[in-house]
Each structure stands twice: as C-alpha cells, then as structure tokens.
Amino acid sequence: MANVLINVPRQAKRGEVIEIKTLVSHPMETGYRRDQLGREMPRDIVRRFVCTYNGTEVFRADLHPAISANPFIVFSTVATESGTLTFRWTGDNGFSMTESAAITVD
C-alpha cells in the first residue's frame, strides 16, 4: 500500500494560481545499489507523475533515479473551475497509484 499526501487548497478564486504539493511513499530504488550479499538491487522507481484537472492534463513529470525516495513534487495550476484534480503515479513493477482532490472555484 502506498501512502499519498497531497496539499491542494479546497477553495480558490477563478484565475488564481494555486500551488500543489504531493508526496508519495516509494523507495525509488536506483538500480545502482547492491545488497549486503553484493547482489545488484534492480531498479524500482516511479517513472511518471501526471495531474489532470477535470480530465485535462495540466502537469506531467518524468522521473529518473536521481529523484529522492518518497518523491516530493511541487507545481502550480490556474484555478479555472470547480471540480476534481486527479494525481497519478506510475512506475516500475506495475506501480500505479491514483488520488484525487476536490476544489471549489468561485
């Protein structure tokens, strides 16, 4: 089970630029480390993060092993209308995690 922490204002004025912070639990194993027995630890990372706003993509990030464990991503978007922001993380070994947040715009 992956845990997700998202910080989105519940309410915003139309046209206001809002900051969104996201944190997802994931080891981001680089693929460059070895375990105690000297065996290579296979890469296991989140490769992509996408945010959609009422179905339209507003932000996307492609991540590489240099992103810290438990990826923290901060970005912004313009509050256009009330609705739902959906966040999706996908990665190695079929990792997939979706979370959403409601926003009221007036």
Binding site: M1, N3, L5, L23, P27, A69, F72
Partner: protein, 257 residues
Amino acid sequence: MRRLCVALGAIALAVSAFAAEIPPSDRRSGYDFMSRETRAMQDDDTANPGMLSVLEGGTLWTRKAGGAGKACADCHGDARTSMKGVAARHPSFDAARGRPVNLEQRINACRVDRQGTPPLAYESRELLALSAYVARQSRGRPIEIAVDARTQPFLDAGRATFHRRQGQLNLSCSQCHDDQWGRSLAGNTIPQAHPTGYPIYRLEWQAVGSLQRRLRNCFVGLRAEAYEYGAPELVDLELFLMWRARGMTFEAPAVRP
C-alpha cells in the same frame, strides 16, 4: 579526511573525567543544528516524509486485528486525546515486566495481550507507522520521564552506557555529546543527542526509523558491538536519553540528516 583525524584526535584527547550534564538553558534539539532546508522539511507536514508513516499509522489504528477482533481505536478511542503526551513519557515502567518498556514494546504488548496478534517486528513498516502515529500526538508536549525507586536502577544503567568508553575508537557517547556538541566533525555538527523526535525520517536511511536504529548506528560508528533490537541495554539507554532531555519539546516525526 585530514580535518576529521584532527577533530577526532582532539575529541579523544579532551578526556573529561567529569563530563558535566548540559544545563537546561543550554539544551538544544538536533533540529537546531540542522540546515535551514532540513528544518523546513520537518516543519512542513506536507513536505515531511515522516508524515506518510503517520498517515499509515492512522489507518492501522482503526483496523481490527487478531482473535479479539479489536482495533486500537476500539479501546483507546481518538488518539489525539488518548495518546497525547504518551510518547513523551516513554520508556515507562511496566509493572508486569518489572522494567521500563519503550513505546514500540508498549504497542506490541497491546498487540499480544489485548488484540491476540503476534508482535510486530522491530523496524517493520507497521510498527514504525503505529509508533509514528502515537508519537505525533505528543508533538509540542514536554518530555516527562517519571523517575522513582523502581526506574532508578535502569536509568543508572543507561547513564553508565552513555559514559562508558567503548569500541575500537574507545570513545564514550558523552565525550561527543556532552563535551563536544556544537563542534564540527568533518562537516557534521555534533548534536547533543536528545531523542526529541523519534521515530524520525532520516535522510541517510531514506526512510523512517526508530531511536533504537539510530542508537545502533552510533555503536557501529564507535566500531563497538551494537545491541540487538529490544535489548534491555538499549531500552535503558533510551530511558536515560529521554530523562536527559526532560522538559524539552517533543517534535516527532522529526527529520534528521
């Protein structure tokens, strides 16, 4: 490298026979020695990765488990009130065991005796989550360790471990943390070793870990034998360190480098 040799040499030479206790007005949390960036990571709940563990602990708190089919919440209710200050007074004396137990052991005692489930392994994701969740409820509370005739011998044992020179480096914890705090050791500032924020998210681990994990790292640092998780010696050391930090503000889940 050279600087480190000099620094360690100075520490080894500065043998103080009477390592004095740090007076309350000079006590500093590890937080105070961290960079602005690392402090910001701890201060902002939405940036502090330790909060992911707290979040998971909150889910486990209400999950029914074991033969009794009871969740923590069924007996303890809202953790925000029932667990307030609890982590800040652990380790605490457990009459049944006749010795102090730390927070993880207390939680496991409830798992076994009250829920009828096997204990959770030390440093397992679930135990860290539950202890982070319980510890979070003490944030902002003063550390208060009750000392009486029953706990005194354990406190003394912990103090003795802290002051004993050990390992291949033949240094005591006290030589660094009572006598040399604030000095730089090859880029790291030596803190006072107050366990104000455990479990912590440690950047070096890239994960949440307990005070015992941190203490074991220090024994390894001294190139001394590290006690096993749950060893009475480690719990006594925890008790001493928490008592030594009495009155300081609890700040779990802290972030440390």
